[in-house]
């Protein structure tokens, strides 16, 4: 599918005589946000399918399922792309080394508001408030400031702003896409008829 696009990249012959996994590792080392398969394939000038396979090889490799030892880092798919992370076992070690203070926790109100926005987006503040039955203005401001939600668009009639979640939220949750959110419809079994279905997963 995307493979023909990649043929173009083949034109730059220079880079392509090193193994694909090496080229992928080179890119992974310098990115500062997750890189999707297609973008990665374009960057290394190889078909997406081959890149996907190499990524799998690298994941296994770093996890110690290849020929070499397990590495102190791992390759994770988070927020729509791949990125190098310190292996979880060493998080405490690194945290101690960096010494930074832990970011402030979100309040229960903020968490609930975030959940409502995540499942019902695009959604206005008023709609969120009607579910939580409290004023959510300051909570929304906090979530905006943290970069966890964003303004999507203004309603053409009322001018009310619709909010949605960001890729940063996915990264903070450690999931790859909104599809990885736990389904909540089972929790809504009896009452679900009352809601706009379709938006509730």
């Amino acid at each position: 599918m995307t493979d023909d696009v990649m043929q173009n990249a083949e034109a730059d012959v220079a880079a392509v005589d090193t193994p694909l996994t090496e080229r992928i590792e080179a890119i992974l080392l310098i990115i500062d946000e997750p890189i999707g398969l297609v973008a990665l394939a374009a960057a290394v000038g190889s078909p997406v399918a081959a890149v996907r396979q190499s990524i799998e090889t690298l994941v296994d490799d770093y996890d110690g399922r290849g020929r070499g030892p397990r590495r102190g880092f791992e390759l994770r798919e988070v927020g729509g792309g791949w990125r190098l992370y310190v292996r979880e076992d060493h998080d405490d070690l690194v945290a101690e080394f960096i010494g930074g203070q832990a970011p402030a926790r979100l309040s229960q109100a903020a968490l609930e508001t975030l959940a409502v926005i995540a499942y019902k987006q695009p959604v206005t503040r008023g709609q969120v408030a009607s579910i939580r039955a409290v004023n959510v203005d300051s909570v929304v401001r906090t979530l905006l400031a943290r970069g966890l939600i964003t303004e999507l668009f203004a309603d053409s009639e009322t001018g009310a702003i619709n909010y949605g979640t960001t890729d940063a939220l996915l990264q903070h949750l450690g999931i790859n896409s909104l599809d990885d959110l736990p389904p909540i419809s089972p929790l809504l079994d009896d009452g679900a008829d009352g809601f706009d279905e379709g938006t509730i997963r």
Binding site: L28, L29, I30, D32, R52, V59, D60, F73, L75, R76, E77, V78, R83, L84, Y85, V86, E88, D91, I98, A102, P103, R105, L106, A109, L111, E112, A115, A118, R125, G126, I131, R132, A133, V134, V140, R141, G159, I161, Q171, H172, L173, G174, I175, N176, D180, L181, P182, P183, I184, S185, P186, L187, L188, D189, D190, G191, A192, D193, G194, F195
Partner: protein
């Protein structure tokens, strides 16, 4: 696709269990037919094991207020907001029950049923989000501890970044700074389209007085000629009533909905009367 253990979503059951396992040392209620944590009450209601109509809203409210008094300010907000969801819904239901429902004998029962469904729907919806927020908290907490590679580009590579296109003058730049320093407020949806601008009855009365004193008789139609704001028409009508109360004018209407003719009738009129006119309408 390579499996990434961290990203596997948890089944909803796990979420539910987690919520159930939550310590239930929050708000407790003691009613004639129920004694236990408030959360459990919600649980029973949501599983149809208890009829909401058997729950006394005022009893729950009283207990809750007593409970809040003992809470520290931090827990208070979360607890209070949680309760508001339920209380608001319960109130909705009571209102539906109290409002006249027309001739049908069964209408009230129907309405109650509908209200109960609405209550279930809202409670369950709220609970669902509350429960799934525990999953959010867990993931955020776990991911907070993770360390991702976010290292600045090597000097060598940094030079390869495309030349920056810069088109701002110092003044443009200062303007940007101003924009950036301006206090950020979440855009607010005005309610102006719902509420007409405030109209002062006193001001309108002054106009009415001036117009009437000048011409002796005037129809109400003439009094509001050229006025497009419904609020002003209403205010002028109210001031007519108020002036009538002060015996400052008389009016006659020859047939229902017919022309309303106003006549200035004040023996002694001082503008001080005007100053207190319509005080009933002040807030």
């Amino acid at each position: 696709m390579a499996p990434s253990p961290e990203t596997a979503p948890e089944p909803a059951d796990a979420v539910l269990e987690e919520a159930v396992r939550e310590p239930a040392d929050g708000f407790r209620v003691s009613l004639s037919n129920f004694d236990g944590p408030f959360d459990l009450l919600l649980n029973l209601i949501s599983k149809h094991e208890m009829d909401i109509t058997e729950v006394s809203l005022s009893a729950v409210t009283n207990e809750f207020i007593a409970y809040l008094r003992e809470l520290g300010p931090e827990e208070e907000l979360d607890q209070a907001s949680e309760f508001l969801v339920v209380a608001a819904t319960l109130l909705d239901m009571k209102v539906v029950g109290l409002l006249p429902q027309g001739e049908l004998v069964d209408a009230e029962a129907v309405a109650l049923l509908e209200a109960r469904d609405l209550l279930f729907a809202r409670l369950l919806q709220y609970r669902a989000f509350k429960e799934v927020s525990a999953w959010f908290a867990r993931c955020l907490r776990r991911e907070d501890r993770r360390h991702v590679r976010a290292v600045r580009l090597d000097e060598k590579h940094r030079k390869k970044t495309p030349e920056l296109v810069w088109s701002l003058t110092p003044d443009d730049f200062a303007a940007l700074a101003l924009l950036a320093f301006a206090p950020k407020e979440i855009p607010h949806v005005g309610l102006d389209h719902l509420h007409a601008p405030l109209v002062s009855i006193r001001e309108q009365a002054a106009i009415v007085v001036t117009l009437l004193r000048g011409t002796e008789t005037l129809s109400f139609r003439e009094l509001v000629a050229g006025v497009n704001e419904p609020g002003i028409v209403v205010a002028r009508f109210i001031s007519v009533l108020e002036l009538y109360r002060h015996a400052a004018l008389s009016f006659e209407q020859l047939e229902p909905l017919g022309e309303l003719t106003l006549r200035w009738a004040a023996d002694s009129w001082s503008d001080e009367t005007l100053a207190t006119l319509g005080a009933d309408y002040d807030r």
